[in-house]
Amino acid sequence: MTTSGTPSTTARSTSTGAAESKTGREKTPALGASDRVTLYLALVPYLLQNSPVSVAEAASRFHVSPADMRDLVGKLSNLGIPGSEGYYLPNDLFEINFDLFEDNDIIDLLSAVGIVATPKFSGTEAATLVAGLQFISGIVAAEERASVATLIEKIGLGASAKPSSIFVATPEPPACFDLLRTAFSQNRQVRFHYQNARGAAEMRSVSPLRLDLVGDTWYLRGWCHLRDALRTFRLDRIDEMVVTDRQISPEDHALTLPEALFDVRETDLAVVVRLAEEALPLIAEYHPDVHSAASGGQVLATILFAHLTNLSRLVARYPGIVQVIEPPEAIRAVAEYAREARARYV
């Protein structure tokens, strides 16, 4: 593991994010009822402005599969409004050009009923946009920052209810952020001084693939040419970064980054900890494998660690809440870690 004080993961958890490609483009999820209603409401105004349009183009615009798009459009032509007599007559339904749709996979909406324009955002939808904008405002270029404020105002005007009260503070962009942006845009490798959790430092040459901001911690993910492996680096451990003349190869670009930040190694040490079942959320990001209920609402869980320092840091973070049960060398390491630190105050 390249970092410490940060979680190891089990193999179970690494499999979940494999579908996500490194550009951060989301996979196409199965559509639920509220997804489909929102899609109908959005699709109609889009088609009124843009049809005829190919199924492929409409599908890619709304990030759904072509099959889902065909299904939505096919259903649309059976939907409409009950006319004055209370019956759905042909004139009261959406009308599409069926020949174009079935023979050429092209959507041509001939007439619509009921709705014409894009619907407003719900209060919660608006809140996610506003809070998301606050969150990213620290990392956008200076001239874009002014437009963030305008955007927040516009989103408020476009909401059907007051956005619910959520605020996400802007994290500071790290010192090497601009250099990384240059590296990404010019497709070049970077070289930097990296000091790991135990203070050991090395120069690393890395093909940068993605910059992850998780909570308020920045991570650089890329192919490490020193280790010949995918690695995750905490930006606050990076120093003396330079953008090199070397290009990021197409092979590097083709790599799929797992959604989980940290990799499990065969050399990881399995440590058993005991804690109250209700305290499990505190250590959720360490992906504990909960194996049995102990007495009095307590549970035992196994966590994998690359190094005992990382374990000691976790336990020190939740004193009295997380207790190491085995192996003995792990218990000793934690006790020693705390004793040494306390000795400095005597």
């Binding site: 550009t23 009822a33 509220s34 489909r36 209603v37 929102t38 899609l39 409401l41 889009y46 709304f62 259903k75 409409g80 409004i81 009950p82 209370g86 009923v113 009921g114 709705i115 894009t118 619907p119 407003k120 955002f121 719900s122 919660t124 608006a126 996610t128 998301g132 969150f135 990213i136 270029a141 437009s147 955007l151 476009g158 619910s164 009260s165 605020f167 996400v168 503070a169 994290p171 990404f184 000091q195 790991n196 135990r198 430092a201 693939l209 910059l211 909570g215 308020d216 451990r237 109250a276 209700e278 305290a279 020190a316 207790q323 190491v324 006790a335 705390a338 630190a341 306390r342 400095r344």
Partner: protein, 333 residues
Amino acid sequence: MVRVDERLFSLILALISSRHGLTKDQILSTVYGYSPGYASGSSTAATQANASLDRMFERDKDAVREMGVVIETLTPLDDVDDNKNQRYRIAEDAYELPADVGFTPQEMALLELAARAWREGSLSTESRHALTKLRSLGVTADSQLLGVAPRIRTNDRAFEALRSIQAAHGVAVFSYIKPGDTQAHERTAAPLGLTNWHGNWYVLACDLPAGVERTFLLSRIVSDVRKVPNRTHERVVEDFASRLHSELDERAAGAEAVVDVSPHTDAARRLGSRYGQPLEGRVVIPFADLDLLTDELVEFGSDVLAVSPPELITSIIAKLTLVELQHTAGGRS
């Protein structure tokens, strides 16, 4: 069986195209998805069938509202006691995105990035729906910020429950480990606003029954958050979340800790990156919450030595002592 999404969409279409609104009977007897099940007459079977359609309609109204579509209720003046003649309608100007709200390709790129920041948590559905609506405007995002994937963490399991209780002005019950305690205690509080401050989620809440405002750190909530049934909390709505954010900022500006860090350690590197490079091995850290700072520093073990304030030193020593006791033969429980 008509699919739920087709029924909901048909309901929206019917209510928006009806100028004077529709009564519940008209909706249940004509709108696609309800009408086949509607029974006329007053037999017991008909009454039962219609009662279940009625419940379905009530649920659908909530579902539609959650999608941002406002359903108006019109009650005839002479008819206040009888909701039989109540009419339901969706007003176009309440439904449609105002014509002057448009976005440039560059703004679309920012909005895409903003919405995707939620892809991990419970709000990912809502942010995805917001994007779907935005995409209907037909503006293609200009993707300048490729390669950057900011993500808002909402892994505190209390987050979604508190957010929805807050939106409904409800009251929540949860177990909370107060900083410095090892035991959880049950709290009853009305959540007012949620703020993510330096990576941690906080909720500003009205603590009941005392009725005083308190800030809770979500990661210290160690039970499911339950909604108290049928109870709401009246308030004058303000932007509680930004206020909480400013208060946390102010608190941090008012308190400073001085910490010595050993050179060339992870503590020196990371605390230096965050709070400024150490001067002669010393870092000055503004803080809002003594216990969170204690946690942050205790984690670094003997690589840091707190110099001031005294209560920080006391709190660090107490935590280290507890860890050591729990992991030595005599002190193990």
